[in-house]
Symmetry: D2
Subunit: 218 residues, 4 copies
């Protein structure tokens, strides 16, 4: 039901350098092309226009063991990623769709990020308040809107703010041959429109919360 949306420039709050971090949960390893990764790079390029610098972390090339704590093993790569999340103004969760759901790597991230929720209980406020979140999704066909909603739900409980049109995605027609995905995605006008509006809305809300953060009393 999503059709290419018009894009309008927006009067922005006072400029301030911001940072974004993208967690790419593609099942493919570097240097194989990841559709999700490429779409994430397009989003970062668009965010750059709003003075937001960022980078993509390819989860398939990291070691993120099963578990629910901040550190699960000596060679656990999650603590370093968690530290980068703490620093960023904007968190982007990027995932392919496999059988109608986020990938096992994105689910692993969500299980590990749960430790922020534990910390919230202890400290009385979320470390992720005043951060803004976006989502990037690609799939051969079907599943993006469900994956989007299921990730938004998690992000909201973790304390992040979700701007309007918080996702950019691509999915093809059912039965669409896998080989053609990249070409179709690159040409898709709806997906391009989503990238532009998502970048604008992320930047607007992130600046606004940087200038006026929710601050608890006491």
């Amino acid at each position: 039901m999503y059709r290419p949306k018009p894009h309008a420039a927006c009067h922005m709050p006072k400029a301030v350098p911001l940072t974004a971090i993208v967690l790419n949960a593609s099942l493919k390893h570097e240097p194989t092309l990841s559709n999700t990764g490429e779409l994430s790079e397009e989003l970062l390029a668009e965010l750059k226009k709003y003075d937001v610098s960022g980078k993509v972390i390819r989860l398939a090339d990291k070691n993120i063991p099963v578990g629910l704590t901040f550190r699960e093993s000596e060679d656990d790569d999650w603590p370093a990623i968690a530290a980068e999340i703490r620093e960023a103004d904007i968190l982007i969760l990027a995932t392919p769709v496999w059988w109608g759901q986020r990938s096992s790597l994105m689910q692993r991230v969500i299980e590990r990020i749960d430790a922020f929720d534990e910390e919230y209980h202890e400290k009385g406020r979320s470390a992720l308040y005043n951060k803004v979140a976006g989502i990037v999704i690609t799939g051969n066909e079907d599943g993006a809107l469900h994956v989007m909603g299921s990730i938004m739900m998690v992000l909201s409980w973790l304390g992040l703010t979700l701007p309007p049109e918080c996702t950019a995605y691509w999915v093809g027609e059912v039965g669409n041959p896998l080989e053609g995905d990249t070409k179709l995605r690159r040409a898709n006008k709806a997906t391009k429109a989503m990238v532009k509006n998502l970048a604008r809305n992320l930047a607007y809300h992130a600046r606004l919360l940087r200038h006026h953060p929710m601050e608890m009393e006491g």
Copy 2:
């Protein structure tokens, strides 16, 4: 991820005339073309080859009030539909996707069908045991697999058996203009393959359960 599947003929249990009923939850009224309705008719045509006769009920032209009982008002059309469900060997729930979910008319049917669940509690067995269920879904883009799973879950609790590949659906590429849906759907090979395998698998399981129904002792 669904790609056109090969179809093979199957040695079938002894022929026996069977009946199917399709509930079409399109939001459009007769005589407007319903994509969901047309795909349902294709399925019925394929089922006919297996000695299954059936019909489609267009819910948008029925009066099905809000509620949870078998009869909610004097002019309630649900009791007659419920009676046809009791008679049928095969129940097909057919729905468009609106914002990632089954339509409000399909949700209404599911709320009303809940009365069968109450009856199960009272009588100690489901009136829908030994019936086989299928699903038909169409959408402009995205959502079919989620809608399919969410409907399967309900059908299973109600007591129906679900054959392999229990759904036929069509969804287009994101941003796909609405006007082109019907043409693309009619030409889609994956959707055609689903219809053939769904009809074969429904007929096989329905015949099997007709010849060998689960019968409770006592």
Copy 3:
């Protein structure tokens, strides 16, 4: 996984009177107690502390025909509701869970609200930008988190901003007798905690966007 969260007061943006509208999609008619309605009233009471006034609209007692336009019949109650949505700063969608999904009345609202999306296409911007959304959900058992995510997805595409912890819900243990729901819900500490944090976060974000709305150039 939601456990009762700590609540802290928050330094708020400059006070400004705001309005909220709750659409209650309970299947029950007035004056029958609606769990969803009662929880919505608790939220409104909490919002009042932040200078937000509001009201609940009981959809089961309105006439909202099937369709996708702003007005579907002479006696269609939707146009008046749509006008109230335009005026409000905060939109709350409140629904029970039926078989794992939002009710048919909430799905109907989402189908009808689609007309705002059409308008967005024509006018180049959403009439719902700068509004903030919240969600209220009750169910006998299971389904709240899925319903929450699926509604958040719709709200985001429509142009609303979602604050952290954007939902208040109650669901019971599986097998829990229906008669006990109201009592258990009223006593549930996790649900109470959600109401407090949701009200604070809605008020904060709504005030912020009132003082600093996204305004398109040109």
Copy 4:
């Protein structure tokens, strides 16, 4: 909405020894108690009454790398598991709920099981036809019905038959302290009723398909 269902004995097809395999996607390692694992053992005990023998595989203690093929590395444990799936009459997918979804280990299994779907394309029929599937789910609160539907959808495309009431689950009331889960689950009558009906229905359908398998012509 699930309430404890009555259980009735069922006239069964001629006895034949059958096998079941349970894949337990708990995030916890042996010997830590897994609620999902314990509920799976209850199901196996019940299945034994119908001449079905089975075992549980604890995925957290296996090495199942990211990927989509039958073998992803030298020390990949998946090929041995896939071989056991081929031998079994009944496949049970058992998972905890984390943030409203199946665990990352269950999602990994579903990504790896996709290789059966590739094989189906090549051979013209699914190696999983005539097998029957069941599901076991536990969660601290909320999410079981959604997880159930999303797994049923995958199982159906893979070629398995789903009997009525194909799942046994437990979830608690929202806000329910984690420490109490095991005790509440063990005492829950609705969960016990599900186990009994699931075992009966799995055994019935598996025997029926063993005696009368779908066999393709040619």
